[in-house]
Assembly symmetry: C2
Homo-oligomer: 226 residues x 2
DNA sequence: GACAATACGGAACACTGTTCCGCTTTGGCA
DNA sequence: TGCCAAAGCGGAACAGTGTTCCGTATTGTC
């Protein structure tokens, strides 16, 4: 939806830069300011703070980035792209598809966890962030699918989980991982990925391991619902 | 339907019905209205909507519930309590501690998933919801610890995960599970719990299963960070 | 140097949660 | 019964969001 190739210092490639020079300068300043404010105050920092830091009015910010989400996308775009591109590379160089999947997920988690509040805003059903949500998903789900299928074909993991669900689960697990030293998202994600693997004794089946032996407490909350 | 005597709970407990009758009636109406609005519009529904539904002014809502979070707590208090109490019961009646843990977590997940946006608000680092967060944790973490320890002592699961982390992870996985038919929180939680179990071949160790064999991509995002 | 076209700044709007205070209702006591 | 402080009430007002709008300033082209 948005050109804004820059994300931080980018020597402009060639010419043909559209628009006025001051406009381009402001957009650049905005991206830098946003990146910096996101680091100190988190991704949910007020738009006004970013505008102030960039020395720019509110109108300017909204002309360049129609929505807060668009600004966030622009700031993290090439990091997301780098993550997407790392997938096939890892698959090519890793010992096994499963190893590649693990490393890739770890990269993604490290990315999310180091960006104050990004994970939270990513899963927010707040309408304003749909674009952000969609961008991450569009970019990463195909890569994750590839890794997942490779690992499944190699018989390393069960094959009944969609990449979309895995990505959302991982994203969810990263929420609040900053700002709480007692919560280690990386470990929980590892647990989740471990749960994905075939047990030594059931290699080949794709049934999810039942979580308990008397597992009839499923359909709906019984004791709990009024 | 709900006592909801007090959120903080250091009021005089000898007096049966404190306050004026109209005040009690309004509080009751507020709880009913809130419960109903939460069902239709989600937990993040505007305070004004709840006040309107209860036929009451804003001042009234804030006199009874100093904060949105307190109202949410009051609405769900006895369901949370029921969940807490179900823990020991399950432990007593289930075949194994692990089965009890699984059933208990399932109950909790079913509860969270059926309450529009509760999981999201629960993990929100938004300062206003600390009380809510704290209440859930205070009530449920001890129960979870008990179940976890029982299962660990029985040698069914690894013992290196704190109940707090598990609860937060489960809560996180439930975020957005309503409002997205393609995301099945229950399944992911099952995966997480499955990952908690000892593999048949390593019963006794408590090392987390390494998620990949060439796992050096850990410390910090390398390729990803600008 | 003139003058569209383009872009800018920030006031204003709509929507939150929360506070405040003048007015109303209640219920113990004559 | 009627009185009247104390308890409680409603909603205007405040503070903080994201977003829109438009009069003004800047730019780059002729």
């Amino acid at each position: 939806m948005n050109d804004s190739d820059e994300g931080s210092g980018h020597a402009a490639q060639s010419k043909a830069q559209p628009g006025r020079k001051d406009a381009r300068r402001n957009k650049e300043a905005l991206l830098d300011a946003a990146a910096s404010v996101f680091v100190t105050s988190g991704v949910e920092a007020p738009v006004r703070d970013i505008a102030a830091k960039a020395g720019v009015g509110l109108g300017t910010i909204y002309r360049h980035f129609p929505t807060r989400a668009d600004l966030i996308i622009a700031v993290y775009r090439h990091q997301v792209d780098a993550c997407a591109e790392a997938g096939p590379a890892l698959l090519a160089t890793s010992a096994t598809p499963h190893a590649a999947l693990g490393q890739w997920i770890n990269q993604f988690v490290d990315f999310l966890v180091t960006k104050h509040g990004l994970a939270a805003v990513l899963q927010s059903d707040n309408a304003g962030f749909e674009a952000l949500h969609a961008y991450f998903l569009d970019r990463l789900v195909p890569v994750c699918t590839e890794l997942l299928e490779a690992a499944a074909e190699a018989g390393e993991i069960r094959s009944d989980l969609e990449a979309y669900e895995l990505m959302r689960g991982v994203g969810n697990l990263c929420i609040g991982a900053d700002s709480d030293p007692d919560y280690d998202a990386r470990r929980l994600v590892e647990l989740l990925i471990a749960g994905l693997r075939h047990t030594e004794t059931d290699s080949g089946r794709s049934e999810p391991t039942p979580i308990d032996s008397a597992g009839q407490a499923r359909g709906r909350a019984d004791t709990l619902d009024m």
